[in-house]
């Protein structure tokens, strides 16, 4: 492995620690360094400081890291799979299905039934849209063209169904649904984190195993077949793994945009398009970036909390503006 890559990973690891430390130490309650350190070294303590750090902030930061990782990895993989550097985890309409599932759960009141009802409903919705896309694409040999078309259509159908539900619902429930849609990391419970984390980690590991195939698939279906890849099968596996991760992140944290778009883009510029490096580097970048965005979201206008999607959207917009202004 060449030196540039080694340096990159060391830097990312260091940034991860920094991001974790900052996120854990930031919040609407300010603590003196002394109290902070005391609380940090006492994870099972029952004092207010320990509870705030370990039972309020830590689950949220952990969820943000896992979600960021999942979104960045999926963004990188979808960009490769769809051969388009502007693709992101939501290009294929998976978030639409999840939003539909969530909207139904919130509006029907089923949400009050249990802590995992809403995430499960959202996940169910994402499975619905994934299944639809899979079915449509299978009939056309899973060509990239069909995949994108199917994804966009399914996304639109789900979005319009969500809007329909909004149109006929009480205003109060509507607001709760909108909060979820804008990205919400505050419901981090340990069961949710473990479940989502398992799905995200397993999916990421599987995708990394297919790193060489991903590289070759960027050259197109025909070239990939020439190089001995069973394109339909491999694309199906990759699609399902990436969709699983995306479904898990959206179910756990709502729709958080731009992370899956900008981070793989930026990482590819620094580390190159080889998925062997791109996937782990994107995972780290996501785990660094999202907790910091969430920290900003919950401290900028404390005690009010901004939806994290607002921060990622803002940064994403600036990023792309700079990108456009640089290249002629």
């Amino acid at each position: 492995m060449n030196n540039k890559i080694v340096i990159l990973f060391c830097a990312l690891a260091a940034l991860l620690c920094v991001s974790f430390a900052i996120s854990l130490s930031s919040g609407s309650s300010s603590m003196t360094p002394g109290r902070l350190i005391a609380a940090l070294s006492n994870p099972s303590g029952t004092g207010t400081d320990s509870v705030i750090i370990w039972r309020v902030r830590f689950p949220r930061v952990a969820l943000a890291m896992l979600t960021g990782m999942g979104l960045a990895v999926c963004g990188a993989v979808f960009q490769g799979l769809l051969r388009n550097p502007l693709a992101d985890p939501y290009t294929l309409g998976i978030s639409g299905g999840a939003a539909l599932g969530a909207a139904i759960a919130i509006v029907s009141g089923a949400n009050s039934a249990g802590a995992l009802t809403l995430p499960l409903a959202a996940f169910g919705g994402s499975i619905f849209s994934v299944a639809l896309i899979y079915f449509i694409s299978s009939r056309h040999n899973f060509s990239t063209h069909t995949l994108v078309l199917a994804g966009v259509i399914v996304g639109f159908i789900c979005s319009s169904l969500v809007l329909f539900i909004f149109a006929v619902t009480d205003a109060s429930k509507l607001q709760a649904a909108i909060v979820w849609l804008m990205g919400d990391l505050s419901t981090a419970s340990s069961r949710l984190i473990v479940t989502a984390g398992a799905a995200i980690s397993a999916g990421t590991a599987l995708l990394w195993m297919f790193r060489q195939q991903l590289n070759i698939l960027t050259l197109g279906d025909e070239k990939a077949a020439h190089l001995g890849i069973n394109t339909a099968l491999v694309k199906k596996i990759i699609f399902l793994a990436a969709s699983l991760i995306t479904g898990a992140t959206v179910s756990a944290a709502g729709v958080i945009g731009f992370v899956g778009l900008i981070l793989p883009h930026a990482v590819r510029r620094l580390a190159g398009p080889d998925h062997r490096v791109l996937i782990p580097a994107s995972a780290l970048a996501g785990a660094i970036f999202l907790p910091l965005c969430d920290t900003a979201a919950r401290t900028l206008f404390a005690p009010a909390e901004l939806p994290v999607g607002v921060i990622t959207g803002f940064i994403g917009g600036i990023f792309f503006l700079l990108l456009l202004l640089r290249k002629p």
């Binding site: 550097p85 050259l219 077949a225 190089l227 398009p273």
Partner: protein, 259 residues
């Protein structure tokens, strides 16, 4: 090395190739010529199993191609498409190394031996000096050679080239074909090249197959195939055929008519 027996195939009910049969031996360089839409690209797609034949058999290295898995086929046969879109900035070396994939296990990393083979392929195609550069920064000629290097990395016995000289100026065209011919001779590689330039086809190929409307019109040495009668029948245009003063291969002169 390659034998087609009564191959018939097409897309969506439309027949493109009709009862095509021919043999290609090891180390032969065969030119596939014919007007646009005559079925040349489809021929390659049938051999590389992108398109399934309706009728007929394809024998590659003695075995029925239907029995070959995607991977096994890629170990024997390499193909260069007319155009290849490369959306991400892989380095030339990374790109060429992908050619080793058919010989690796599904999840096996390329090793030093593979890197050596890639280096040799790049040396043979004169792309070693750009090995570390991103492939989308290369000039047209260098890019074509890099794509050829990737194909060579597969260590194929059969090489299919679909218009390998498209978008190249005459200097690069000649360089490319010189290179291919040399490799064919040196490695006993069977080459089938779709060429739109009849003169280049006649200059470099051992045999030519001329297609018309999905059928083989004529097959044989360049002298046998490139006659003004054949060209008039197939391309529907008047030409005069003379000899290239250096190589004595047939050379075609167009007859313009704009009065």
């Amino acid at each position: 090395m390659l034998e087609l027996i009564s191959l018939t195939c097409g897309y969506d009910g439309r027949k493109i190739l009709d009862d095509v049969s021919f043999k290609a031996g090891a180390g032969e360089m065969i030119g596939i010529i014919g007007p646009n839409g005559a079925g040349k690209t489809t021929l390659f797609r049938a051999i590389t199993k992108i398109v399934k034949p309706w009728r007929g058999t394809i024998l590659i290295d003695g075995g029925d191609s239907r029995q070959l898995s995607c991977r096994k086929l890629a170990q024997i046969c390499a193909a260069m498409q007319q155009s290849l879109e490369i959306p991400f900035p892989f380095t030339v070396e990374e790109f060429v190394l992908m050619g080793r994939f058919p010989h690796l296990g599904q999840f096996q990393n390329p090793g030093p031996a593979d890197r050596e083979i890639a280096a040799q392929a790049m040396a043979a195609t004169d792309t070693l000096h750009v090995a570390g550069r991103p492939i989308n920064e290369l000039s047209g000629g260098e890019r074509q050679r890099a794509i050829l290097a990737q194909a060579l990395c597969q260590q194929p016995k059969l090489l299919l080239l679909d218009e390998p000289t498209a978008h190249l100026d005459i200097g690069h065209q000649v360089d490319m074909l010189n290179l291919i011919k040399k490799l064919s001779r040196k490695n006993n590689l069977t080459v089938m090249a779709v060429l739109h330039d009849l003169n280049l086809a006649g200059e470099y190929c051992d045999r030519l197959i001329m297609f018309k409307d999905g059928k083989i019109h004529s097959i044989g040495t360049p002298e046998q195939v490139l006659t003004y009668q054949n060209i008039e029948e197939v391309y529907k245009t008047l030409v005069v055929v003379k000899e290239n003063p250096i190589s004595h291969k047939p050379h075609i002169f167009p007859v313009s008519n704009y009065s």
